[in-house]
């Protein structure tokens, strides 16, 4: 057991540090650019120098780096506040699905542009009637010669309004049980017949959209996997979703709340001297540390060429509620001023208030807390599935609420 870098890892870290130091965008370069333009500028610069999506094969624009090298890269890159985020669905979910299921031609066409950030992808899975029960989705695709005609509605599509392409699962056969009647496609987000409507969240922001399909046509060549194999292909995406949707909460953590607790006072003494405050911070530190070393154990297995155990499935389930509780606690520490949500007036530029309003979404996105607990219970502990009243029944005959 050795938690330190090996000689090769240390050399790699040094190389990464030097490159980041010399090449990270300076404030002046980013001035006047929107968030997406900033992210695209940084992504392209990394791509041109061979530092984008470094674990991908070189032929797709990556570097063929090892998972450990990727961790080192991420550690070093996250030391700077750099513009990114809009690529995570494309690079983290669409790309692994394309790598496994797309034709060589499509891989060569799409993957390098995903790596360079020139094209942004989104994911069109959830529907009003299919969230946690994703396979209950209803948007229909009907075959018409070499094409499919799509009608229906997707929802919670992050970034649909600025994406170039999307991955989507559709109902192609309602006469068979729900998992068997699905087929998976990629789609041009500017295809005629698509309408994108932003959803206003409780935070006031609009990160998600509704996407309506009216007689939208896609070519059969845009199919990934066989007809009726959509669920299996979707699982590739979902496995990667859990890896790419982080716990959220951004900078809200023990470090930030410790600083806050040194500044604010309780009964005339810094809050950090209060035993109740210390106990809470200690518990959260244990969770942060536990998640960190759990992921290191996973990486350790990867670096030995082994398949990692299921330990890492706990990240979002622990991290999202923790971030919510910590934001709530940090607000409490500020007493009445904690209610102020104004970057100019609030502590830490309203980071705690923003996180408080953002986290309810993260506890739901990519698998609710409850679904994550089911996954751990069923796939990790091997407990039996719940009774499913829709099992084996043709999808068209499954009872619905609407």
């Amino acid at each position: 057991m050795d938690f330190k870098d090996t000689a090769e890892e240390a050399a790699f870290r040094k190389e990464v540090r030097a490159w980041l130091k010399a090449n990270r965008p300076k404030k002046k370069e980013l001035e006047g650019l929107g968030g997406i333009e900033q992210a695209k500028l940084w992504q392209k610069r990394k791509y041109d120098a061979g530092w984008a999506c470094i674990t991908w094969p070189k032929e797709y624009g990556g570097r063929g780096a090892s998972p450990i090298e990727n961790v080192i890269w991420n550690q070093e890159e996250s030391r700077y506040d750099l513009p990114q985020g809009v690529f995570s669905i494309g690079q983290g979910m669409a790309a692994p699905t394309l790598m496994m299921w797309a034709s060589d031609e499509d891989k060569a066409r799409f993957l390098p542009k995903l790596a360079s950030g020139e094209e942004i992808w989104c994911q069109l899975f959830s529907e009003p009637a299919g969230g946690s029960d994703l396979a209950a989705l209803r948007t229909r695709a009907v075959k018409d010669g070499d094409e499919w005609v799509i009608n229906g509605q997707k929802i919670w599509t992050s970034g649909a309004h600025y994406s170039d392409y999307g991955i989507l699962v559709l109902r192609t056969d309602p006469s068979v049980p729900k998992h068997k009647g699905l087929t998976y496609f990629w789609i041009d987000m500017r295809a005629p017949g698509m309408e994108i409507k932003p959803i206003r969240q409780i935070s006031g922001d609009s990160n998600f959209n509704e996407v309506y399909f009216t007689d939208v046509r896609v070519s059969d060549s845009q199919r990934l996997g066989a007809e009726g194999q959509g669920w299996q292909v979707a699982l590739t995406t979902l496995m990667n979703e859990r890896a790419s949707i982080g716990a959220g909460g951004g900078s809200v953590g023990v470090d930030s709340i410790y600083k806050l607790a040194k500044e604010v006072e309780i009964d005339g003494k810094p809050a950090i001297r209060d035993p109740a405050v210390r106990a809470k911070l200690a518990d959260w530190y244990c969770q942060e540390s536990g998640l960190k070393y759990t992921s290191w154990r996973t990486l350790s297995a990867l670096s030995r060429g082994e398949t990692p155990g299921p330990e890492n499935s706990i990240g979002k389930l622990v991290g999202a509620p923790k971030a919510q509780d910590m934001a709530s606690f940090a607000i409490d520490l500020q007493e009445m001023a904690g209610a102020i949500r104004d970057p100019k007036l609030s502590e830490a530029a309203a980071m705690y208030q923003e996180t408080y309003m953002a986290i309810p979404g993260l506890r739901i996105a990519g698998g609710t807390d409850e679904i994550m607990a089911n996954i751990i219970a069923e796939r990790v502990l091997g407990l039996p599935q719940d009774v499913r009243v829709d099992k084996g029944i043709p999808f068209s005959e499954v009872p619905t609420g609407s």
Binding site: M1, D2, C286, G290, I314, V380, Q385
Partner: protein, 370 residues
């Protein structure tokens, strides 16, 4: 970067698991519980014969000179087996204290005996409710003679030597005290939450006491000792928590209600998933603790407190929810759920409570951040 135990260490784990399955089944703890004995003497002798008490003691003192990682592996398995033996007192506390603070002569005198299991050692720290401090201590040493009462002292009825925290003047020191001094070291058994591990009261009356480590440095030495012991206790706790989860799972799979296994209900699934989450976080923190202990890293106080707090919480949660999963049967004397429930609480206060370790964690964090 490598966070795994080595192949040899994993072999040791397999061997320890097999040995304890045969020699320390729940029936062994039950025999101690029912008989009122201090420990399972036969099991202890076999553990000594396997060399586990000699694990980290250097070869020059009759030990095996292995690393702390081996000791962590053994600790986890002893915890899993809720073994009714004085291993933690003798190895994590007494042996560690002498290794850490003993003079060459003290090491020569005690380590070979501790390694060979000729003597059992323990730590006498508590004097009743509350955290002992230099100010609160009533046990006092004057002219090499110790007087005062320690309660509870783990394994007090079977230990031959104790490391005792006592006052000398205004400050505290550690002392080595032999426990066979007749009426000068009067022992009385004490019933505890976990009778599978014997505890007692020791009343010292002008007992001969030998300074261990520097005079007046008792609290610092104790802190350093507890940092080391905390990692090993945490591994025991993680082992016990894992065993409680496995027991709950096995029962839930086999128990039917309303026509199906209770393990298929989300209320039970989420309970077991929560156990798994807490156990996994605690285990990962224990890895960090094991590394810090083994390399004598600067982060040891932080790593130890982190491992300790999360292991306390994981074991408590798993042991109580294991009973809950079993329903009424879990509350019966006949079922084994009680062993984890008893042991989890005993271990959680054994070397300072959760609250104390939360406080130490933030102390260490502040020091580390500074």
């Amino acid at each position: 970067m490598n966070f795994e135990f080595s192949e040899e260490q994993n072999l040791l784990r397999e061997q320890a698991q097999g040995f304890l399955k045969d020699n320390s089944p729940p029936a062994a703890a039950r025999r101690v519980l029912d008989s009122g004995a201090d420990y399972d003497e036969g099991l202890w002798q076999k553990i000594v014969d396997m060399g586990w008490t000699a694990t980290v003691i250097p070869e020059e003192y009759g030990g095996l000179g292995l690393s702390y990682l081996e000791l962590c592996v053994i600790a986890e398995e002893l915890g899993r087996a809720v073994a009714p033996v004085p291993f933690s007192s003798s190895v994590y506390l007494a042996t560690e204290a002498i290794l850490m603070a003993g003079t060459d002569a003290q090491k020569e005198e005690w380590l070979p005996k501790l390694a060979a299991g000729d003597v059992i050692g323990t730590l006498a720290m508590s004097e009743g409710a509350g955290r002992p401090t230099a100010r609160s201590l009533e046990c006092e040493v004057k002219d090499g003679k110790l007087s005062g009462t320690k309660i509870p002292v783990p394994d007090a009825g079977i230990a031959s030597v104790a490391v005792v925290l006592a006052k000398s003047g205004k400050r505290a020191s550690l002392y080595l005290v032999e426990l066979d001094q007749g009426s000068k070291t009067a022992f009385k058994p004490v019933n505890t939450l976990d009778p599978t591990r014997g505890h007692g009261q020791i009343r010292f009356k002008n007992a001969k006491a030998e300074l261990l480590g520097k005079a007046g440095k008792g609290m610092d030495l104790l802190d350093a000792l507890l940092d080391r012991a905390a990692v090993l206790f945490a591994w025991e706790q993680v082992g016990g928590a894992q065993a409680a989860l496995e027991q709950a799972k096995e029962y839930a799979m086999g128990r039917y209600a309303f026509g199906r296994p209770i393990a298929s209900y989300q209320a039970i699934k989420h309970k077991l998933a929560n156990m798994y989450v807490k156990n996994t976080l605690a285990r990962s923190n224990c890895y960090y603790g094991a590394w810090a202990l083994n390399t004598d890293a600067d982060e040891l106080p932080l790593a130890a407190a982190t491992a300790r707090v999360s292991a306390i919480q994981a074991y408590y949660f798993a042991s109580k929810e294991n009973i809950q999963t079993h329903g009424g049967m879990g509350y019966t004397w006949e079922f084994d759920c009680q062993f984890y429930y008893r042991r989890s609480k005993l271990l959680s206060v054994a070397i300072g409570s959760e609250a104390m370790w939360q406080d130490r964690l933030i102390d260490a964090y502040e020091e580390h951040a500074a």
